[in-house]
Amino acid sequence: MNLLLPDSGLLFWMTIIFAIVFFVLAKFGFPIITNMVDKRSEKIDKALAAAREADEKLAALTQEHEAMIARTNAECSRLMQEAAAEREKMIEQAKVDAAAQADKIVAEARVRIEKEKEAALKDIRQEVAKVSLSIAEILVRKELSSDKAKAELADKLFDEVRS
């Protein structure tokens, strides 16, 4: 009844039974289970990594999107400002142009008026000369009795015409 002495029969059977159990389980049991579990955890890891990546991509995309909107907004307000400035400028320019045009027209008109005035004066002078000449003719014809009178008259007429 020595508990510390291994019994040969039990040793024999234990070796056989444990060997059988071990070989059967090592061949058909545990590796199948652990491999499948490993595969599954690998797959889960991969799926998690993919999800994380997708998340990051989405975040980047959102950021880009926001940046784009901000850029567009800035561009838009810039364009509006530019357009407003352009309009102001155009109005200014138009005003300036119109003023210049008006000045030019006025000046031209003035020149033409001057010219016409002068022409008119010239015409009048000529008319006056003609009239004077006719008068002189008449007078000459009528009063050319005395030479002195003729001379006086001629001077007088001449002065009148000259003035």
């Binding site: 009844m1 508990l3 510390l4 002495l5 291994p6 019994d7 040969s8 029969g9 039990l10 040793l11 024999f12 059977w13 234990m14 070796t15 039974i17 444990f18 059988i20 159990v21 071990f22 059967v24 389980l25 090592a26 058909f28 049991g29 545990f30 590796p31 199948i32 289970i33 652990t34 499948m36 579990v37 595969k39 599954r40 797959k43």
Partner: protein, 337 residues
């Protein structure tokens, strides 16, 4: 607590005195038949096959042929002496010799039962994985029960302690763990399929420790053997007198030896404690109803406590055996830094 039934009969059988030591050892050690209980003077036990090779050749018979001191074909169970409780052959000259005995004893029978339970458990789990797409389906049924256990042991013990080539060892370590666990648990069950003190038997733990010993030393790498035969210590410690080498080589054997003794002693002690506590009831029975009643209540309380403790120990010892095996194997696979 169901031990009580068996013990009460034995206690009655043993005249007036309660033979606690006899009861204890009777339950703890191996036997040829599987004694269940005594009922009204009849021994109720399951006969098991005896396989003996004696001087007259092979003898195969059921254990009830040699029960209660009967002799069969010159073979009987010794009642005293060196071979007490073992089958012995009485030679023609009257001397006694021990034949080659590979009988299916109570422990062997219990081993077979637990081996079948283990095989069914693990193979049906493996079957689920073979039949299903485990990558896309959650385990169900038996796989749901076994997977967390297997994964926990595989990850926390095997992978943690052995390192990158753990796959090679995980079938052995998992087998060892579940084998020990099932035998431990069956040992706590007090009636038929359980109750045998299998993992509290040194032959069983010897084989288990031997397996770890082989796993460690057969596949030990160069670094492991260099550490034993030419460790990094001052030269005078290893040459000319191989002091450290002696210690290291001694260590090769003490490691599995400690595994063997730890499991054996823990389970044996657990069985002995529970049996001892239950025996107290029958000792107290002789001391009058008051003492007996109060003692029974106390021992029942202690017994329940011990049973719960043994459940814990059953798991812890399986875990510790596996963990230390994994640690030893991990040491033998460690690469030089």
């Amino acid at each position: 607590m169901f031990f009580a039934l068996g013990i009460s009969a034995e206690a009655r059988a043993a005249d007036d005195k309660v033979d606690v030591a006899g009861i204890l050892f009777g339950h703890i050690s191996d036997s040829y038949g599987w004694h269940i209980t005594d009922w009204g003077g009849n021994h109720l036990s399951i006969p098991l096959p005896c396989i003996v090779y004696s001087s007259t050749g092979w003898h195969i018979f059921m254990s009830d042929k040699i029960a209660h001191g009967h002799e069969y074909e010159g073979l009987s169970v010794a009642t005293e002496g060196r071979y007490a409780d073992k089958i012995v052959e009485t030679l023609p000259d009257g001397s006694i010799s021990r034949p080659f005995d590979i009988s299916i004893t109570k422990n062997v029978c219990s081993l077979i039962i637990s081996a079948i339970i283990l095989l069914v458990l693990i193979l049906s789990t493996a079957r689920w994985y073979r039949r299903h797409d485990a990558e896309n389906e959650a385990p169900e049924g038996i796989a749901k029960l076994m997977e967390p256990l297997i994964v926990a042991i595989n990850d926390s013990l095997v992978k943690e302690n052995i390192g990158h080539d753990y796959r090679r060892y995980s079938p052995y370590l998992l087998t060892a763990f579940f084998f020990i666990l099932i035998n431990n648990l069956l040992g706590i069950v007090p009636f038929f399929p359980g109750g045998a003190n299998v993992t509290g038997n040194i032959a069983v733990t010897l084989v288990l420790a031997m397996c770890t010993f082989l796993a460690v030393n057969l596949f030990g790498n160069r670094h492991y053997w260099k550490d034993i035969l030419w460790p990094d210590v001052p030269v005078f410690l290893k040459f000319p007198i191989p002091l450290i080498q002696l210690i290291e080589v001694f260590g090769i054997f003490t490691k599995p030896f400690s595994l063997m003794v730890r499991l054996f002693a823990n389970i044996l002690a657990g069985h002995a404690m529970i049996l001892g506590l239950v025996s107290v009831i029958f000792i107290a029975a002789k001391m009058g109803p008051v003492i007996c009643g109060s003692m029974t209540a106390v021992t029942m309380l202690f017994g329940v406590f011990m049973d719960c403790l043994e459940l814990l120990v059953a798991f812890i010892q399986a875990y510790v055996f596996t963990m230390l095996s994994a640690v030893f194997i991990g040491m033998s696979r460690e690469e030089a830094h």
